[in-house]
């Protein structure tokens, strides 16, 4: 197929109404057949990836860069230093890129109190600033949906409201990556550029990502974003505290998503969107700690997850005060 064809097969096109990735019955027989097939293709994908000629605007170093998980500590230092230099060249900003790793024993979860959220959108703005998002399109990993009371279908929500909030007949539901324990986006990635780490955060190696956008189509929460353009950020607005797997400036043509601000949260800090919330609707913490706020909420509030029927097992919860 010529490469100027739309490369998203119709079945996963955004226009299709449902995303039947998981939860469909299959017999053991087809499952086994599928396993064999995908094994072959994954191997094939891996094998041909390095043989592709180097695009003009990609440095040899970058091209030869290994997958994040195969980088030694030494390699990482070199890669991070190179990326910092590139940021200096392109954006005029001096940044530090770190490799924050999961804290042993910690599993993150997030909860939002929908009785408090009033849809003001400060969380989206904080995300934009913290995570060095493209300023041109005011990119953010969060979408705040204005929902009609009585409905939980996120597809029926609206993001474009501009009136004073909250409106009496509405409630407001911020949606960002749900850090699923069964992440459909991870399984569809043909090059393993995205995976789930021990603390529950699903990360993307932006340098390994080929921008095919299958993950975007696979995510039932519409939580992944594609960098259509090279992000534009004024030098003085660049957040210099960066993580390789989180908020460093992403290259054009790659996928990205909320990573629970891992460059902050793996250092014990709260996510930027939580701190920015003027209504105090957001709760974040370690569910392995029985005394954490998040654990209290899971035990004492009637929490629910979005699209539970899909079996994605989000680490992201919602509740109303009752």
């Amino acid at each position: 197929m010529p490469s100027n064809e739309p490369h998203v097969p119709p079945a996963t096109n955004k226009a299709s109404a449902s995303l039947p990735i998981i939860g469909q019955p299959s017999t053991r027989r087809t499952a086994l057949k599928g396993a064999a097939l995908t094994l072959g293709l994954a191997a094939f994908g891996k094998a041909i990836w390095p043989m592709i000629s180097i695009p003009e605007n990609v440095s040899l170093d970058e091209f030869l860069q290994q997958h994040y998980k195969e980088l030694s500590a030494d390699d990482k230092q070199k890669v991070f230093a190179r990326l910092a230099t590139e940021t200096k060249e392109k954006y005029g900003a001096k940044v530090t890129i770190n490799d924050q790793r999961p804290i042993p024993g910690v599993k993150f979860a997030y909860a939002i109190n929908l009785s408090k959220c009033n849809g003001n959108g400060k969380c989206m703005e904080a995300c934009n600033i913290e995570n060095n998002h493209h300023r041109g399109v005011d990119q953010s990993y969060i979408r705040v949906l204005e929902m009609t009371k009585g409905s939980m279908e996120m597809e029926h929500g609206s993001t474009t409201y501009t009136h004073d909030v909250p409106q009496d007949d509405k409630f407001y539901m911020p949606v960002q990556c749900q850090q699923c324990d069964n992440p459909p986006c991870v399984t569809v990635c043909p090059v393993e550029a995205t995976w789930k780490e021990e603390d529950g955060i699903v990360v993307v190696d932006y340098n390994w990502c080929i921008g095919c956008r299958y993950c975007e189509a696979a995510c039932p929460y519409h939580a992944r974003r594609f960098n259509w353009e090279q992000p534009e950020i004024a030098a003085e607005e660049v957040n210099p505290n960066q993580g390789y797997l989180s908020n460093r400036i992403r290259p054009q043509g790659t996928m990205e998503k909320c990573h629970f601000c891992l460059h902050r949260t793996r250092e014990g800090r709260l996510p930027a969107c939580l701190e920015a919330c003027p209504t105090g609707a957001r709760v974040f913490g370690n569910i392995n700690d029985p005394d954490s706020d998040i654990n209290w909420i899971l035990k004492n509030k009637r929490v629910f997850v979005l699209k539970e029927e899909l079996g994605t097992e989000p680490s992201f919860f919602y509740f109303f005060d009752s």
Binding site: G34, F44, G280, I287
Partner: protein
């Protein structure tokens, strides 16, 4: 869709080529994914990243972390009690304010004053809309420079949260568990401190309803927009 017209993309060529080479393969992968849906099958083939299945029963426990001394949780407090402006300025041009007792020390408390319209001599224009709570169920009729609790205990203005909590126990319980009131700083107190808002940072004691807000930040994201067709999502 114009998705693949990514020649300016840093990896445009790579994508193009990869897609050229892999389209067939990937279509099959996706078909399999879509028709099977069973992650077991795929997980087995990619063997990518061990997904921690049942995090709540994880074998990793907190005992693997040393028991550090915890950093404090600091709750914002008002700097001082309220004072009343006199419209007089001192020699440095600073406004002169007086304490509540300046007048109230010599005035008998008036328990009939419950809502602003009861006030005609002073404090006119005070806004009040806090259910039917009366002035002197919060203000201390023995000394107006203090608040008071239901059992008449005298309370400093800076400790106002104790006052709120006596009538709003549920909200206070939620607040104590982070489910109301927000916070800043560290979720992990072994690594750093945390600050919490005071009830009165968000609720005016006289008009406690949380104010309406006007959204100011909108990502240019056409997702779910009523005016744009869905298929155009993200498209430029």
């Amino acid at each position: 869709m114009t998705d693949s017209k990514s020649t300016t993309s840093r990896k445009g060529v790579a994508i193009g080529l990869l897609i050229g080479g892999l389209t067939l393969a990937v279509i099959i992968v996706l078909t399999v994914v879509l028709s099977l849906g069973k992650r077991a099958a795929i997980g087995a083939s990619f063997e990518p990243n061990p997904i921690q299945k049942n995090p709540k029963h994880s074998s990793l426990s907190d005992s693997s972390r040393p028991n550090h001394v915890l950093f404090p949780v600091k709750i914002n407090r008002p700097n001082s009690g309220p004072r009343v402006d006199t419209d007089i300025f001192d020699n440095d041009g600073q406004p002169v304010t007086v304490s509540c007792q300046t007048c109230h020390a010599t005035r008998a408390a008036n328990f009939e004053n419950r809502i602003p319209t009861d006030l005609n001599e002073f404090h006119n224009g005070l806004e009040f809309s806090h259910s039917s709570v009366s002035c002197l169920s919060c203000h201390n009729s023995d000394n107006y420079d203090f608040l008071k609790l239901a059992d008449q205990t005298r309370l400093e203005f800076v400790d106002v949260m104790t006052l709120c909590s006596q009538c709003h126990g549920t909200q206070r319980r939620d607040y104590d568990h982070g489910a109301h009131g927000g916070m800043n700083g560290y979720w992990d107190l072994t690594k750093g401190p945390r600050t919490r808002n005071n009830c009165v940072d968000c609720h005016d004691p006289h008009v406690p309803a949380f104010p309406k807000m006007r959204p100011t930040f909108k990502p240019h994201d056409r997702f779910l927009s009523p005016t744009e067709p869905k298929a155009e999502t993200h498209a430029k």
